[in-house]
Symmetry: C2
Subunit: 468 residues, 2 copies
């Protein structure tokens, strides 16, 4: 039996451990710093005051035409569109601003934004050597390159609409890499109403007794064979180590609570790790006694007021409402078939996420005036009975949501080195990396993590000569 | 002075002649079989009974972020969004069927169709060796590959909506190549309200006296130097010949009225020409005393009744209304700033185009019941006061609208050979080809023709040593 240590019990770590365990030739131990398993899968059944549950981490099936986690959920009978445990929440969105409901159809602002994103993608496709700029700069460039084609209303609206992208990456548009902004995902987005805990449960079931939570890894000595992994509590030896630390943890220096590598990581690898930021997508769940919004809508989008936009940098106080854009998921629609109770799930981006996650008691001060705009029946509009705020940016085991390139940053060298698929890169056969930030397919998603875990296990099984 | 003959006075031929003429070292003659210049640009100022004019050939600016003809029109001051001589007619469409107005938003059928097209594009992108099938088969494949994801209503509606593609290529979905169906165009579509005659006028102005209309070319003897070009009226010698015959004319045998080549075209080239069909996009213009439809809409789409669909093969009689899908352009909106009078422009596809173009008097029998569905004010609904029907499929100089690959057909070898850009292909430096079917950029459009004419002229200028 070979010893395998998997660092991290998220989707990638659990999948790697699951596959290694199933192979039968490995003694698998999963070390998890948190007191719970799941990593950035976090299906919260406890915080709701109205009997709902929420995925506070990944919540959608993206790339749904090529999504092995979706396929698995369907095979297991857990995920079903027909039963309502999964829901296509992609009805044409309704838009609101501080001025109230905003029509984007009659003035074709919806078309302008589509074209704008085609333009941004096209620039880098046609000339891949074009220097990276921010999405904001690229939007300005679009209007500069094509004057006399838009009404003033379209120009203003489209600029506000473009910031919808912020709620994908969790990064404000003035810092977001335009080069990395185009998403190549196939298929509609599906809200996982059941909750992603189905995946955690499925993968961790055969690993009973092999997962040690509350075991934070502080050092990895890869100069020795077997490798020595030191946690705050103990020391482990392993023939193989799968490192699934989030990029936000990998980026930390040992004195900040990061892992001490012996010897240090190769400079090129360290530079690639330091070269990509974590995005900061956050969520604020607002629970109500009754719905005052149009329950037949899937998502509402709050457009930022352009004149308020102070996008960059750390906030020093709660910004006024409508400073940032917000995507608001109507949980009453997503969970309709399961009789979910009325709640709105607001998505936030950096730098606002950092502020609100560290000041969760201020959530209603910010979102109240935004959410009030959604009220169909003003009389029913009330304060929420309960508020749940994520804390991904405040938790040093994550330091954010998922990898999200800032201007000039590039996932390609990072993934190339961490994927373990290129000779002479990475750390040799004893150490594999996995996680959403280590794979080109659907980077940043749960299935990316899952597939990278599968890949790490396969590399180890192949190397050890135990493949079938 | 070198002698250059340009065969065809459409966008490609006129651009080639314009550039050769401007170079100053060529004696240019354009031979045009029709009695008019323009080719598949045909801005009709005469047929309207209500003072409108219509582009019965190409009418939109496609690929509008990279469109040199649009840029030219703007530079000339002729084409202007602000003045209304060009119009983005891309507001969310309204859909109708024999059952009346069809909502595609609330049931997300719009999203299903988007995903379906992503799927079709993805299949051939992921595995380029996948054998070609029809769009219809690929739609079936999509639903087969992803069961349990759609409601029965979505399945039925999305199948009908998918046939919207027919009004791009002019080919019914059961014959349309799925592999060639994905359009890689950037930018919103712009309706050319002014009319494409601006381009014809601009290019033909300096060619006064050099264009001979009614001169149909019947033979090209390329065994001689100079090349001998024979028309029904005369014989010409030329150092260079630019052949811009539409694919539908190139495909014709001499006994059918096609050109007799001496020696015959190389077999590979002939096979490529025979290997791609002409699509048959037709137009039926309906003029009215007053508008009975919602004049704030840009386009209406009539969805076919699935149970009526007998797509393939030549028709033997007028099919019932709703057998095919129809895109109906609200000319009152497109021409609003220019005070256009009420008219609807219906787009048709093969095999219906062939029927209606040869039986134009039956147009209202077919479109009447379809157009009646659009009536907001039923009292105002009346017969049209005037009907204009195109005849592209009936005119042997065109035999259709533009190249449109059927299942298993491929533009790539055709374009590779006709583009004159690959050594050992084509017919040597004395004979250049041009036209929408000879170029990869925006194939099938007016700017494709324009760019191919520019290319042909450049090749000749370079070869003759007269480049600057």
């Amino acid at each position: 039996m070979k010893k395998a240590i998997v660092i991290g019990a998220g989707a990638s770590g659990l999948k790697a451990a699951y596959d290694l365990n199933q192979n039968g030739n490995f003694e698998v131990t999963v070390l998890e710093a948190e007191s719970r398993v799941g990593g950035r899968i976090k299906t919260d059944h406890k915080s709701s005051a109205i009997g709902n549950h929420y995925d506070l981490g990944g919540a959608w099936f993206h790339d749904s035409l090529n999504n092995p986690v979706l396929d698995l959920g369907m095979e297991l009978g857990v995920i079903s569109i027909e039963k309502g445990t999964a829901y296509y929440d992609d009805k044409d969105r309704l838009y609101f601003g501080s001025e109230g409901h905003i029509d984007v159809v009659n003035n074709r602002a919806n078309r302008v934004v589509e074209e704008m994103f085609q333009f941004i993608g096209g620039v880098f496709q046609t000339a891949p050597d074009t220097p990276d700029t921010s999405v904001k700069q690229m939007v300005d460039e679009y209007f500069k390159r094509y004057p006399h084609r838009h009404t003033e209303e379209q120009r203003q609206l489209a600029r506000r609409l473009a910031r919808y992208l912020e709620l994908w990456s969790g990064v404000s548009w003035d810092r977001m890499s335009a080069k990395s902004a185009s998403l190549e995902l196939e298929g509609r987005n599906i809200y996982n109403v059941h909750g992603y805990d189905f995946l955690v449960n499925h993968l961790s079931k055969p690993l009973e007794g092999k997962i040690r939570t509350g075991e934070k890894v502080i050092a990895i000595d890869r100069s020795k064979s077997p490798v020595v992994v030191t946690t705050e509590k103990s020391t482990y030896e392993a023939d193989y180590v799968v490192v699934t630390l989030p990029l936000g943890a990998l980026r930390q220096l040992p004195e900040q609570g990061g892992v001490e590598w012996s010897p240090a990581l190769p400079k090129a690898l360290q530079a690639s790790i330091d070269g990509v930021h974590m995005g900061a997508l956050g969520k604020v769940v607002l629970e109500f006694d009754q719905a005052f919004w149009d329950v037949n809508q899937d998502q509402f989008v709050i457009l930022p007021d352009e004149n308020l936009a102070k996008e960059t940098g750390k906030l020093t106080g709660l910004p006024p409402p409508f400073t940032y854009g917000t995507v608001i998921v109507n949980y009453a629609a997503a969970g309709k078939k399961l009789n979910n109770n009325p709640a709105l799930v607001c998505l936030t981006q950096s730098p606002f996420t950092e502020w609100i996650e560290s000041h969760p008691d201020q959530a209603w001060d910010y979102f109240g005036p935004e959410v009030e705009k959604l009220a169909v029946d003003k009389v029913k509009f009330t304060k929420p009975t309960n508020i749940i705020v994520t804390n991904w940016t405040q938790n040093p085991h994550f330091n954010g949501a998922y990898a999200a390139p800032y201007v000039g940053e590039d996932m390609v060298p990072l993934i190339a080195q961490l994927s373990g698929e290129h000779e002479g890169m990475g750390l040799g056969p004893a150490i594999e990396f996995a996680g959403e930030h280590t794979i080109f397919q659907a980077t940043g998603t749960i299935q990316a993590a899952y597939l990278s875990g599968e890949r790490a296990a396969k590399h180890i099984i192949d190397h050890s000569g135990h493949s079938n």
